[in-house]
């Protein structure tokens, strides 16, 4: 596939966002592509908003995705999905967990899922909300939610035009908890 793909990976510090993004980047490198994965380190990893910019393909130079130019968003928390929506192209694809983590500030009320879904859809974006963290628990470990979302995003977005299933699996294999992660990936990306 020629061209490039801009992917925003977002969520809350501690959810496994960096691993998700790294897996994508490593898979791209295995396929001989250029890749940039701009991570957020430091204080925001203590339960703050975390966003990673992933860019793969040709003519990518700058680490950050400009506003309005992300093709895909993979988001591990629904309020963060809405927060990062300014990055999306009008024709972009969003894959988001339905999970809502209330910010730990006294007296602050989280948004309701229906309102978030409504707001995202009203922007005309193709959005897939799935309860990845619940599904992950059913698989046996809530920590595989990130790979469930990755698998699902692989299935419904252009990622598959850039990254081969083989490289994606090889890259997921390097994660701790390899078997469960592979299982989550194959199940949700419908690979075999």
């Amino acid at each position: 596939m020629r061209g490039s793909l801009n992917i925003i990976v977002g969520g809350v510090g501690g959810q496994g966002i960096l691993s998700l993004a790294r897996v994508l980047g490593e898979a791209a490198v295995l396929d001989g592509l250029e890749a940039l994965v701009a991570e957020t380190h430091g204080l925001s990893q203590r339960g703050g908003s975390v966003i990673v910019h992933v860019r793969i393909g040709e003519n990518i130079e700058a680490p950050l995705i400009p506003m309005g130019e992300a093709d895909i968003m993979i988001s591990m928390e629904a309020m963060e999905t809405l927060r990062n929506i300014g990055y999306m192209r009008r024709k972009g694809v969003i894959v988001s967990d339905t999970l809502i983590i209330p910010p730990s500030i006294p007296g602050v009320k989280p948004l309701k899922l229906e309102d978030i879904v409504e707001a995202v859809k009203s922007a005309g974006l193709e959005a897939h909300f799935l309860s990845a963290s619940e599904e992950a628990k059913k698989l046996g470990d809530s920590r595989v939610a990130n790979i469930i979302l990755l698998g699902y995003a692989y299935r419904v977005s252009h990622i598959k035009d850039f990254i081969s299933p083989r490289s994606l699996m090889k890259s997921v294999e390097t994660l701790p908890g390899r078997d469960l992660n592979l299982k989550a990936l194959t199940l949700y990306a419908t690979l075999d």
Binding site: A35, G42, R46, L82, I85, Y87, S142
Partner: protein, 642 residues
Amino acid sequence: MSYPEVLGELGSRALMLGNVAVARACLEHGVGFASGYPGTPSSEVIEALAYAASRLGYPYVEWSVNEKVAFEAAYGSAMAGVPSIVTMKHVGLNVASDPLFSSAYTGVEASFLIVSADDPGMWSSQNEQDNRWYGVHAYIPVFEPAGAQEARESTLEALKFSENMKHPVILRSTTRVSHTRAPVTLGALARPRLSGVFTKDVSRWNIVPMHARKLKEELLSRWERMEEMLSENPINTVEGPEDSKILVVGVGLGYRYARESLFKLKALNSVRLLKIVTSIPPPRKLLLRESEGRSAIVVVEEGDPVFETLLKSILYEEDVRVKVYGKASRHLKKSGELKADAVTKALASILGLNYSPETPINPPITPPPRPPVLCPGCPYRSVFYALRRAVKMSKMEAIYSGDIGCYSLGLNPPFNVQDTLIEMGGGIGLANGLAHVVKDKVIVATIGDSTFFHAGLPEIVNSIYNGAPMIVLVLDNGTTAMTGHQPHPGSGRDALGREARKLVIEDVVKGLGVSRVSVANSFNAREVEAKIREAIRDVVYEGETHVVVARGACILDAVRRASSLKVKRPIYIVDSDKCRACGICYKAFNCPAIMPGEDGRVSINASLCVGCGVCEQVCPFNAIRVLEPGDPEWGRILGMEL
């Protein structure tokens, strides 16, 4: 942390952080000595080298006590002929600036690379100082990589240049270079020089004024030679048509933004683009050659307009009249980090090209902010809770002179126990002044354990010597948590994870001459409160400084340790018929794992709760209780006895 990619095979292409690429280059060059003090975005250089060292047996790697010590250690090693590096975040170089200046006077006997990671945009810092000024100020060349692959190459080139010139070199990275992963093609690892020889030479290593005057002259002529050599270094490259009226100069990562913008504007083939890696001293000859016949020059750089300013002065000196655009002309902002759209917009306007950026989607509702918070089970939550109570019960008002670390998060409600946060060590430092001039309030200085060893000791000594009574609350969680859990002298581990001498904070404090010292378990809110009340009495009634060491493991470390030792953690639940919806546990104690229901009565979110058990102590109605007890070792892990 694990960094297998730093030991990747020769010729392979590995996705790695810019910082890891720096570490890899050090291994390829044969660096024998590496020291540093943690600080975002610099820490992974030492971490990756420590990872390599624990497998290869070399190079020597340490986390030093602070940046000044780290600098001097690497400097000393380079004096003795061992290729050495020192790493730190930008503000760390302020701490190390004294020896920095001297190192240019004396020079060194082997490569000496100073890795400074700047943080434009202030993602994890208190300022966005541009450390290239230090290069200008101290006569030390600065190399600026444009990404991870270039981080490897510039590091190698800088190490070589330093070795040849026997002069220190600064490698200036920025957040997006240090913390962006990109594919890097790897070279061969080299066997490092690990032992050195110190050749005595008082006229060189002893910079009393008599020697320093001579060394200054030598430094100035060396600087000219270095400028000459860097002017022709092929690491700076040009592309695009020679006869272009416009020259775009991309410095470090600025080059990447400039190149992508030109591509977007379809101007890559019509505009001359110069990529600068060796920004200080600027490559004068190259710049003059490339300025010839141009009508405008645009400089794109991360940080202050350092290169832009120096370029203008070179052009002025040589009587070249050409318009220079950049940050001084306000086409680009002087604050914050570079952004692709801003660079494209600036270039489009200067080049007279059309550019209409995408209009970002504006959602009809905005989510509430999500600032970082103390982790569920963080030992600081109970300490801050107890601190607030102790001050209130003593019927006192306090000034909370705070410091930098995870505990800075105590600045937020409901705790509000960080009235100041200036720089590392600033907490006790400011208290040394406040205590003399603000008489109607008790001064409480908080400081983390890593910060205590980094900068706290002289400040405590000062408080005792000059009689500035204060409470010093040392938060001992056994680690440098905020920057990613690096060890320090109180941890009992070294950079490679091996057992090390452990300095006990209360013993150190007593040794400094403090007579009122107490220790409390952070997870025991009552004990902490009692100790702080005693300390308040000492300060208020006796005018004595009292140091309280609150000891309790960083919960992330504790949970990891419990799972590796197979220690079971307890499970807590709420008896909803006992809960009276008072809200103490989630408002005043503010545990993120405790969720109020519609009627205000609470429940514990089992996936967030780690079993620290403090909520059981703070609930006035005994509504929180153990459902399944944990192993007795859990308490010892929390208390850092295991």
